[in-house]
Amino acid sequence: MGYLFDASNWEWLTSGNNLRFLLEGFAVNLQIAALAMVLSLIGGLALALLRLSRLRAVSVPAGIWVDVWRNLPLIFIMLYLFLGLPESWSEAYEDVVPGFFPEALKSGRVLAALLALVLYNSAVLAEIMRAGIQSLERGQREAALALGMTYRQSMRLVILPQGLRRMVPATVSQLITLNKDTTLVSIIAIEELVRRGRILTSFNFFGGVQAPVLQVFIFIGLLFIIVNLLLSRLSRRLEIRERRRTGTTPRRVRGLEDQIAAEGEAA
């Protein structure tokens, strides 16, 4: 206990450039998270629609794809892509990466990290969105079709706006999980917060005093807790407003780590 509350160990965090070094690493996490979130949401919606297709030749392979990727550990996928992707892919990524991207995302290694995050999370999100779409009463679609809407119109104007709105809480909790999962990219040597925490604590103080590993990682944990709490607070506020306006009720999804969080506040 004495060690934990020893002021000099905490002061170490703010001495020199340590704090800035860590916070810049956290920015990399947030950038990777933001990019992966956007791509996973798009991919998830596409996969959900494929899986709901009336053509079995489309829906069955889409279902297998989703079930395989969401049942594998994310870190497993990431390591596999890191070790197994051909060199030429990461070189190609470095060539095509847009110039406005942050510097940290331009390295070829980021491709494996991003691909893994998107493969895994788009599969999980597809399952969430599918559950939302299927939770709608059949009458909704039948009414839309009876009004003369095409399949595409009924999806875009009737089914998706209602079905996806029900899944906002589940989607947000999955995005929070995604945010936590960006720490895994440290394993494939991308210099984000956790990696920087390890780099920082592998050196010693001047005079041979050891770096305070415990304090550094508690600080890192606090950063994530704060950002994730803000995210869930924000989404809850949006959700309550939306619910008042539209009267939607959130639904649960099977196989989601954090589904309780999604429905707990609704009860």
């Binding site: 596999y80 070790l83 895994l184």
Partner: protein, 220 residues
Amino acid sequence: MNELWEVLERHLPEFSSGFSVTVRLVAISFVIAMVVGTLVAALRVAPIKWVQRVGGVYVETFRNIPLLVLLFISFAGLRRAGIPVNAWVAGTASLGLYTAAYVAEALRSGVFAVSKGQIEASLSLGLTYRQTLAKIVLPQAFRTVIPHLGSLVIAMIKNSAIIGVSLLAIPDLLKEARIVDSRTFETHEAFFWAAVGYLLLTGMATFGFRYLERRFAIRR
């Protein structure tokens, strides 16, 4: 195709030992998660405000911290602080305490699914708060949270791979796949069989919990 079977045949001992390490990690962590999760859930539904708040802080902390960071705190962090934790203790405690937050939330939602009238009836029959919780509420809550627990076990199977890759020297399935890969450079084959192992585990958990759910379903 032949290549695949050959790799499995040659490295079966590595894969099966990794598989059993993963199973053991999940099993021990699950016990920790259930015990701690039940305690935290009890705190969260306690009739005293500040006790509820303690449970709430636990849940918000462990649900929002990345598991990898928790592992670094509990292993490297504690060791540097002079507490000689063992890798297995740090790994299973981290995964268990992390999942306990979700278990607590699942149980709490289960407790709220038990109708208020039953609790009032039990209290008016002269059962104490503790007896009501243990005999009336929790048995029913456990039943309604079976599907949630299934999701959590699947999440634990996947999260257990993080223990093996962080600095803890625990040779789980993913670690063994990497060992095979580093020795033979048969990356695709090694990871293919590890994937089969993980899908087997998550598949068994899915079907097992679906069975339990049907078995213990209550008709209301």
